[in-house]
Amino acid sequence: MSGRSAPDIVAGRRPVKSRPGVLGRLVKRPLALLGLFVIVVVVVSAGLAPWLTAYGPDEQLFDGLTLQGAPLPPNGQFWLGTDLLGRDLLTRILYGARTSLVIGVVANGVALLIGTLIGVIAGYYRGWIGSLLMRFTDLMMAFPALLLAICLAAIFEPSLWIVAMVIAMVNWVQTARVIYTQTSSLTEREFIDAERTLGASNARILLRHILPHLLPTIIVWGTLGISTTVLLEATLSYLGVGVQPPTPSWGNIIFENQTYFQAAPWLVFFPGAAILALALAFNLVGDALRDILDPTQRGRS
């Protein structure tokens, strides 16, 4: 027993080289890059909307309608055509992006945050705290989301931020359920026991060891939530409790014009395509992030 015992396998598997950061690895994937590009385009054009178009979003243009008063299809002057009131559709979509981003990112993000928080706490502590939180979640789930949203929106003065809050309040439930199940099975894993024997505090276990494992789920639910929330906002707007006209949002542009779908299909098609593109872009980036942030997948792709 003299000397030190030899290692099982001599020398490491590969020399350690510095690894590029998350962003660096993200841009190496063409699909993720495409998604990132679309998101940047949407964000920039929402921010720079007043400079990108010559018209105002509520401006009813004289030459925006035919002599019979019908909306114009896409042409040289109005790239995406005009709507029933003679407003430029491109301008409305650009301004609408602001609303939809707030809903899709902020409202959805808040919903995700609430859902994760409740799910993680209930799943980790279980006991009476867990039962209480999960029964509350069940209760919220049993409530028709739209009805609840209408009630909440009716109590408060309708505005963009109120709508965002309402959407967050009804959309966290599914996330909480899924996160709860995952957390409670993670809590049983041996490495959590191992952390406990080291004297790690609950906060440390939750933040450093459980949360990173939930990331893939959170990312998937987050990206799925974007299109759902954008459309929920449209539904609320349609029912008159959402963003108030004439403020444009992608959802309410669709709803305003859906009855003219056959006569003026571009009025539904373009905002619809915008929602699709944004949701898809977030999905692509989310998928790539999930793989990149999972160290166990490294070298296996």
């Binding site: 027993m1 030190r4 015992s5 030899a6 290692p7 099982d8 396998i9 020398a11 490491g12 598997r13 020399p15 350690v16 894993r189 041996e190 490495f191 026991d193 191992a194 952390e195 406990r196 024997t197 080291l198 004297g199 790690a200 505090s201 440390r204 450093r208 060891h209 990173p212 494992h213 999972d294 160290p295 166990t296 490294r298 070298g299 296996r300």
Partner: protein, 605 residues
């Protein structure tokens, strides 16, 4: 026992002809390739062997040697689409199994070549009764009526010595013990009287006493039916016990082939010799030197009358109806820089005891570490005690957070207890890595990038980070290959000498225990039945249970093969009891020099 009577139903002229001619199975030049990032890699190459009728062929080797891949390719069950047979042939009954179409292969699987796997729980379908699974397997391959198939199933269960076979048909896998489940798997495999039985680590997941029983069963079945057996194992004790011929594999190639006597007594290759040398043997531990009597050194941990019970609620009101008496009044001391081994079979409460000391389960009784009683402590004080007690778990992969770099994992205990600056911690981790035989350059890697033995070294480094007084090693070497196991054990011994750490070493493997321990405590049904120094326990075991544990260890020497294993007639009783039905407390009697034995029925001499 009439299973063989069914054989003629499917007597096959091909086999009958070839049986007379020569080997029943001939593998020639077999190669298996697995697709990886860097193209295809051969995991088995140029493997040729023959299997005679009625012979037991052992394929021995460590993990990654390609032994399981070989068996899976004979069954054509290689994981798809990653792995494939890239060259060679497998001749069986006049056909080449390597190229046979899937349909004909299905007729052979289970019927002519049967296979049993390591983990009996996962290879049985948990939602179907064992009877249904058995009968279905029989019906698939024969044209027996449901009644005859059922009859055959009962016979098969009787053949594997499952009591009350008729009634057991209705039971589900979870209602059976591990040993019983493996016997059901064997029953399923032999019900169709296959020509070849492939057993892939059939006893690795079982307790030693059960292991003996299952091996004995396989031998009996072979004697009665003349089945050829391919036994795949890493355990040289099992090889010595069972094999007629042995193939030693390493890195996908055959290292050596020979009769069991040749391999064990005159191994030709260096690797075979190393492999045999690494096997822990009973009666090998005398090198550890003399053990001082208890009491002469101070105890680093004192456990007194420890009880751990889990309530099982039932009924409409959720009242406690039953209790699991996991640990019932266990007391022991662990002297400073010595090793106490806690041995026993699964379910005896040894891991629960460890968890109680590590603070993972609530307990009653007293546990004092370094003079401080754990029971009355609150938050901060408890955290301080945590510094003195560290734990190494059985499965090094499961106990390391897969999403953290190993360097961070080893640094974490210091971070939790606020020791040192970031740079100091980094230095300390690098030193620890070097000390346990890893390279500091590997700190940036993730757990899945290491082998099993390396991962266990990481766990050891993490446990050492706080310079603890006591390390609890819960089956810490059981999941490792023998050669790696030997090195990890050596490392543990060196660290003990260097840092003066005491170990609570929990194991079911008596040979390992004899090698590392100073004192031994044998647990059975939550209580200690015998305790004493290593020499007392191994030289003069006084309790029947201790003797059975020692006898059950297979000896890695074919010349000392046992004629019969002691058969367990009855199953180990359950530790789950109705409320108010307390288990009887064992009284320990001193039989000399601190050698304590439970008084009563089990005591001998």
């Amino acid at each position: 026992m009439n299973v063989s009577a069914g054989m003629d139903v499917k007597a096959n002229p091909d086999v009958a002809a070839s049986a007379a001619a020569g080997p029943i199975l001939a593998v020639s030049n077999l190669a298996v390739s697995v697709r990886t990032d860097d193209g295809e890699r051969e995991v088995v190459s140029g493997l040729s062997f023959e299997l005679e009728r009625g012979e037991t062929l052992c394929i021995a080797g460590e993990s990654g040697s390609g032994k399981s891949m070989t068996s899976l390719s004979i069954m054509r069950l290689l994981p798809r689409p990653g792995a494939r047979i890239s060259a060679g042939a497998v001749h069986f009954g006049g056909k080449d199994l390597a190229t046979l179409d899937e349909r004909s292969m299905q007729a052979i699987r289970g019927n002519r070549i049967a296979m049993i796997f390591q983990e009996p729980m996962t290879s049985l379908n948990p939602v179907l009764s064992i009877g249904r699974q058995l009968i279905e397997a029989i019906e698939t391959h024969t044209d027996l009526s449901r009644r005859d198939a059922r009859q055959r199933a009962v016979e098969a269960l009787k053949a594997v010595r499952i009591p009350e076979a008729e009634a057991r048909l209705k039971q589900y896998p979870h209602e059976l013990s591990g040993g019983q489940r493996q016997r059901v798997m064997i029953a399923m495999a032999i019900a169709l009287a296959p020509d070849i039985l492939i057993a892939d680590e059939p006893t690795t997941a079982l307790d030693v006493t059960v292991q003996g029983e299952v091996l004995e069963l396989l031998r009996d079945l072979q004697r009665e039916h003349g089945t050829s057996i391919i036994l795949i194992t890493h355990d040289m004790g099992v090889v010595a016990e069972m094999a007629d011929r042995v193939i030693v594999m390493r890195n996908g190639r055959m290292v050596e082939e020979g009769t069991v006597e040749e391999i064990f007594h005159a191994p030709a290759q260096r690797y075979t010799r190393e492999l045999l040398a690494a096997v822990p043997k009973m009666g090998d531990g005398s090198a550890r030197g003399d053990v001082e009597p208890v009491g002469s050194i101070s105890a680093i941990a004192a456990v007194n009358d420890l009880h751990v019970r889990f309530d099982i609620t039932g009924g409409f009101l959720g009242r406690v109806t039953h209790r699991v008496h996991a640990v019932e009044g266990v007391s022991f001391n662990i002297p400073a820089s010595k090793t106490l081994a806690l041995v026993g079979e699964s379910g005896c409460g040894k891991s629960t005891t460890a968890k109680a000391i590590a603070g993972l389960v609530p307990f009653t009784g007293s546990i004092a570490v370094n003079g401080r009683d754990l029971a009355g402590l609150s938050g901060d004080a408890r955290k301080a005690v945590r510094r003195d007690v560290q734990m190494i778990f059985q499965d090094p992969y499961a106990s390391l957070d897969p999403r953290m770099r190993v360097g961070d994992l080893v640094a974490e205990p210091m971070l939790i207890h606020g020791i040192g600056s970031k740079a100091e911690r980094g230095e300390r981790v690098a030193a620890l890595f070097e000390r346990v035989g890893l390279e500091p350059g590997q700190m940036e890697l993730y757990p899945h990038e290491f082998s099993g033995g390396q991962r266990q070294r990481i766990c050891i480094a993490r446990a050492l980070a706080l310079r603890p007084k006591l390390i609890i090693a819960d089956e810490s070497v059981s999941a490792l290959d023998v050669s790696v196991q030997a090195k990890v054990l050596d490392l543990l011994k060196e660290l003990q000498e260097e840092f003066g750490i005491a170990y609570l070493f929990i194991s079911h493997d008596m040979a390992v225990v004899e090698n590392i321990s100073d004192r031994v405590a044998v647990m059975y049904l939550g209580q200690i039945v015998e305790t004493g120094t290593r020499d007392q326990i191994f030289g003069d075991p006084r309790h029947l249970y201790t003797r059975r544990l020692i006898e059950a260890v297979p000896v890695p020497d074919p010349a000392r093969r046992r004629g019969n294993f002691t058969r367990l007639v009855h199953e180990i009783p359950s530790v789950t009891r109705r409320v108010g039905d307390e288990p009887q407390k064992l009284r320990l009697e001193d039989v000399g020099d601190g050698h304590l034995v439970a008084a009563g029925t089990g005591m001998v001499g």
